[in-house]
């Protein structure tokens, strides 16, 4: 455990980086209506979108009487519906996230905080959820920049506990949040049950899914030596290995195959996949990676 993980998340340096992020994000959004996102759904806003034929049962208030006067036919005026964008963040707080320097959990917290900050600044609705063996009750629906302290406070109080069950958490999440929006899943995805079912639950909700795959440096470049009995910190599973060059090579091949397979799987389903280690500065990740991936416009 590093000292960095025990220090509060809201340290001056972190806040400074968030400030920078705010400026940068404003620059990105310059020339646009702040705090607004147009939904594809036709709705009841003031912005006209289209006409369609009247059918029985339609709201009479939406009939375009001017057109009826000219053409003697009933048309309905359709408007683009304005709605709040929901940004859901699903953070893994299982014990496996408590490794690395900084820990993967702290790194995940930073990413979550940064994304929330960007969202709050853009007047999006932020929902923070965490999960380990199941979905934990999280921070529901905050909005506005003034709420940033709540986000930070909430994230600060998170502790790594329990085993991870992404599938169960995703099912609960899908039930709990039927609405559409963006969901960012931050996890190490070291779940022996796999990630496919979990992401399918989310896909079924027609959400825009972003996967942030966080691994510690020790997992990417193992520094193990000798004859070891590896103990899984979550389920106490044991694996006995004798570290050798072939084994390390094999491990890296396995890791690459896993990451590559994950990425392919995500890409094929329209899921944005971002792989990172805890060594990548989170603000850089936010700016570069998320922009490239389209998470931030």
């Amino acid at each position: 455990m590093s000292t960095a993980s025990s220090s509060p998340l809201l340290d001056p340096e972190f806040l400074h980086k968030l400030e920078q992020l705010e400026l940068v994000s404003r620059k990105i959004f310059v020339g646009r209506m702040k705090g607004e996102r147009r939904s594809k759904r036709r709705g009841s806003s003031v912005e006209f979108a289209d006409h369609r034929n009247y059918s029985v049962g339609d709201d009479l208030r939406h009939i375009d009487w001017n057109v009826y006067g000219r053409l003697d036919k009933l048309f309905l005026k359709l408007f683009l519906e304005e709605e709040d964008l929901h940004v859901y963040t699903l953070l893994d707080t299982s014990l496996s996230m408590d490794f690395g320097d900084p820990t993967k959990l702290r790194y995940g917290k930073q990413v979550a905080a940064a994304l929330s900050f960007v969202g709050l600044v853009n007047h999006d609705r932020i929902v923070l959820d965490t999960f380990s063996s199941n979905l934990e009750p999280g921070l529901g629906s905050v909005r506005g920049r003034s709420q940033m302290w709540r986000v930070v406070q909430y994230l600060d109080n998170l502790k790594a506990v329990g085993t991870s069950d992404l599938t169960a958490a995703a099912r609960s999440f899908a039930i709990k949040h039927p609405g559409k929006g963006i969901v960012v899943v931050i996890s190490d995805f070291m779940d022996k049950r796999g990630y496919e079912d979990a992401l399918r639950y989310l896909l079924a909700r027609n959400m825009d899914i972003y996967v942030v795959h966080v691994l510690s440096r020790e997992e990417v470049e193992p520094e193990l030596v000798g004859d070891l009995r590896l103990i899984d910190c979550e389920d106490d599973d044991e694996a006995e290995i004798t570290v050798s060059a072939p084994l390390l090579k094999r491990y890296k091949e396995t890791l690459d195959a896993y990451v590559g397979g994950f990425r392919d799987w995500c890409t094929r389903r329209g899921i944005a996949y971002i792989f990172t280690t805890n060594q990548t500065p989170f603000d850089k990740l936010i700016l570069n990676y998320l922009r490239e991936r389209g998470l931030v416009k």
């Binding site: 510690s216 997992e219 009995r229 590896l230 899984d232 290995i241 004798t242 050798s244 060059a245 491990y251």
Partner: protein, 721 residues
């Protein structure tokens, strides 16, 4: 998996050697480390098994908590696809450990090339330092090579082994008694100097046999001894005659032959052509050198020599004669003559130098060539002053005897004093005899009470002493045989014609040489006495009552015999420098009366003072080097000087071809001439010393340590193959 190596090797049990313990090539095989029991072996064999089990049971794995075993499991599963062997193959550390353990087990096995017992191997290291071992056909010399071999053997000795060192040439000298002190053994071996003498293995064998066969029973030859037979290592070039009359008992000699072997072709060719010739070697040697005064011109010294070529090619060389005057230390000498020599391959040539008598001086002949043995390229001779022997004749007026001693030739050689038997009782004569004033005393039919201090010649009477008390008179003996090789009987031809009426015969005491044999027994003999010689002739010219007893005086052999006796017993030859001295043998010197000490200057050595011995002579024991020895003593106002020469004229030493190993392709009966015979046993030598019982376990242990270190390095530096 294969059963782990390191199980006790199955070794055939020791076999009795049908040759009675004499086997040069191989010792009877002996189980390794016979002292260890089966429990030990089982435990030892269990070690690698345990290590492998440890690896499989993973008893020593370090628990490490990781975020997830998810990826590791997948990796291991991939590796599990490979076979178990594959996994083992990859496991370098395990193999290094197994290797280390195997090395240590090998060390525990006590890796001995051939062994007998764990404790107390005894070695007798016999090093031949004879003249031929100075040959340089193996660099730097055969002796140095022998020393190196012996040192290697000493280095290989175990901590409980003992060794003794014998240096042998014509005599054997114990250089070091039994000791386990390697430093002392090395020092003693290094201190062995080359001797310039011939070779006799018998002495070395006798010394070694005394240790090897401590309870030897004569007759049956059974040895009932618990003492382990020492291993006799003989480092030699085989240049010695076969040893006869010696039984090896349980002594197992191992003869290491040094020297460059003749090529098989040349060796077999020479054997095919001439049965007696030996394989060629790179040496040309002077085998004889002797001075003599000219028969007709006494003022001319003749120098006869003989040179032999041992090479298989003709040799052209020059023999140069150098004169060493006595009035200065013996140096390089002055070249006074030279002779061209043309020697056929394997042939001999004689040479002769005539020179005007230079007075007492040393002569040296050198051959101008380069061969493997330097010593025999030089030969020395001494020219003495013509000296007359002082002879006392005790006779009752035997004029035949006196006449024969006072011929012109004899008169040059001897100064004869005649006394009557009655004069023996006078004090003057007694003192003179005890003081050794006379070189030779001739007793004619009268024996003294005490033998004189000098050589004696008895006619018709026996010397005093118990050994001659058994003498018995015989009548009319007939002379059957005589020793023509003896100097006293040279040129005697007509002895069978001599008639004898009465004579005395006796069995000569031990050490005597019989001169004349008759049908009744030995008529004449020479027996040694305290450094002198007593020559006894069993009959005299006159018998009882002055009756003629024989007609010998009418024969030519009578004066010749007396002249020979004057030369041989009167020390005349020695004075002429004709006596041959061999290296390592005591040289008896005589000086003027009244001289207490003489000084001997050996070639290249410090001067040596020699006191007069009880016998009136001066005995010099350190004539080990061939060369000219300058002798000086005060003679009144000035210093008297003399010289004697020491030479090794030994064809066997000069023949450098190593003996003891048959050439390639020669076996069976044909190989017999090449073998060295000791008693009735033929021994084939070996070229290299058979590996001794070398305790090399510490090397293996070091190797194990190295492997462990290497493993440590690999473990820490994560070196992967």
């Amino acid at each position: 998996m294969n059963p782990p190596p390191g199980l006790p090797m199955i070794v055939p049990p020791a076999q009795a050697n049908p040759l009675g313990g004499l086997n040069l090539q191989f010792d009877p095989p002996v189980p390794w480390s016979a002292g260890w029991g089966p429990v030990f072996w089982a435990a030892l064999a269990g070690v690698p098994v345990t290590i492998i089990l440890f690896y499989f049971l993973k008893l020593r794995r370090k628990p490490v908590q990781v975020p997830s075993t998810f990826l590791w499991r997948k990796s291991i599963e991939d590796l599990h696809v490979n076979s178990l062997f594959q996994r083992l193959r990859r496991n370098l550390l395990l193999f290094l450990q197994l290797l280390a353990v195997l090395l240590m087990m090998f060390a525990l096995l006590g890796p001995q090339m051939k062994g007998s017992t764990r404790v107390g191997q005894r070695y007798v290291i016999a090093i031949d330092n004879s003249a031929s071992m100075s040959a340089t056909d193996v660099r730097p010399s055969r002796l140095d090579e022998a020393k190196q071999r012996a040192l290697a053997l000493v280095d290989a000795m175990g901590p409980s082994d003992l060794a003794m060192v014998i240096a042998f040439a014509d005599t054997a000298r114990v250089a070091s008694t039994y000791t386990g002190n390697k430093a002392q053994l090395r020092e003693r071996i290094n201190a062995i100097r080359p001797a310039r003498t011939g070779t006799s293995l018998l002495e070395a064998l006798q010394v070694a046999a005394g240790l090897a066969n401590p309870s030897k029973q004569f007759g049956e030859g059974q040895v009932a001894s618990e003492v382990q037979a020492p291993r006799l290592m003989v480092y030699t070039d085989g240049g010695f005659p076969d040893v006869e009359g010696f039984s090896l008992g349980n002594l197992v000699p191992e003869i290491v032959i040094l020297g460059r072997p003749p090529s098989g072709e040349a060796a077999s060719a020479s054997r095919a052509g001439d049965g007696s010739s030996t394989p060629p070697s790179n040496n040309v040697a002077i085998l004889a050198l002797q001075t003599a005064r000219g028969e007709d011109r006494p003022d001319v010294i003749q120098l006869f020599g003989r040179v032999r070529n041992y090479r298989d090619e003709p040799v052209e060389t020059t023999a140069r004669l150098f004169l060493h005057p006595l009035d200065e230390p013996i140096g390089d000498g002055r070249l006074i003559d030279a002779a061209e020599l043309s020697l056929p391959a394997g042939g001999t040539q004689a040479f002769k130098f005539d020179l005007v008598d230079p007075g007492p001086s040393g002569l040296e002949v050198r051959l101008d060539l380069d061969d493997d043995l330097e010593q025999d390229d030089r030969a020395f001779a001494a020219v003495g002053r013509p000296r007359t022997a002082r002879v006392l004749v005790v006779t009752e007026g035997n004029r035949y005897l006196l006449n024969a001693l006072t011929t012109a030739t004899a008169g040059e050689a001897a100064e004869v004093v005649e006394i009557r038997p009655a004069d023996l009782e006078t004090d003057e004569v007694r003192r003179a005899l005890i003081a050794g004033l006379y070189d030779l005393v001739i007793f004619d039919r009268v024996a003294p009470e005490e033998p004189p201090a000098g050589n004696a010649l008895y006619f018709g009477v026996m010397p005093p002493g118990e050994a001659f008390a058994e003498a018995r008179p015989v009548e009319a003996p007939i002379i059957l045989d005589w020793d023509i090789a003896h100097p006293m009987l040279q040129y005697l031809r007509d002895l069978p014609l001599v008639l004898i009426r009465d004579a005395l015969v006796v069995d000569p005491p031990p050490g005597s040489t019989t001169l004349i044999e008759s049908d009744k027994g030995p008529l004449a003999f020479v027996s040694p006495r305290d450094g002198y010689s007593d020559a006894v002739v069993g009959w005299s010219i006159y018998g009882e009552d002055r009756q003629l007893n024989t007609d010998w005086h009418t024969k030519l052999s009578y004066p010749v015999f007396l002249f020979n006796a004057l030369r041989f017993l009167g020390n005349v030859e020695e004075a002429l420098g004709e006596e041959v001295h061999r290296p390592g043998q005591p040289v008896v010197l005589r000086a003027g009366a009244g001289v207490d000490r003489i000084t001997v200057s050996p070639p290249g050595g410090p001067e040596d003072e020699i006191p007069r011995s009880d016998l009136g002579t001066f005995v010099y024991n350190d004539a080990d080097e061939p060369g000219l020895y300058l002798v000086s003593w005060p003679d009144g106002e000035r210093e008297a000087r003399s010289v004697f020469a020491v030479n090794l004229f030994d064809p066997r030493e000069s023949d450098l071809s190593p003996r003891g190993i048959p050439p390639e392709g020669v076996s069976g009966r044909q190989a017999e001439p090449y073998l060295i015979k000791i008693g009735y046993t033929e021994i084939e030598g070996t070229r290299r010393s058979r590996p001794a019982r070398l305790d090399r376990w510490w090397w293996v242990a070091l190797g194990a340590l190295g492997v462990v270190l290497f493993e440590w390095y690999i473990y820490n530096r994560r070196v992967y193959i």
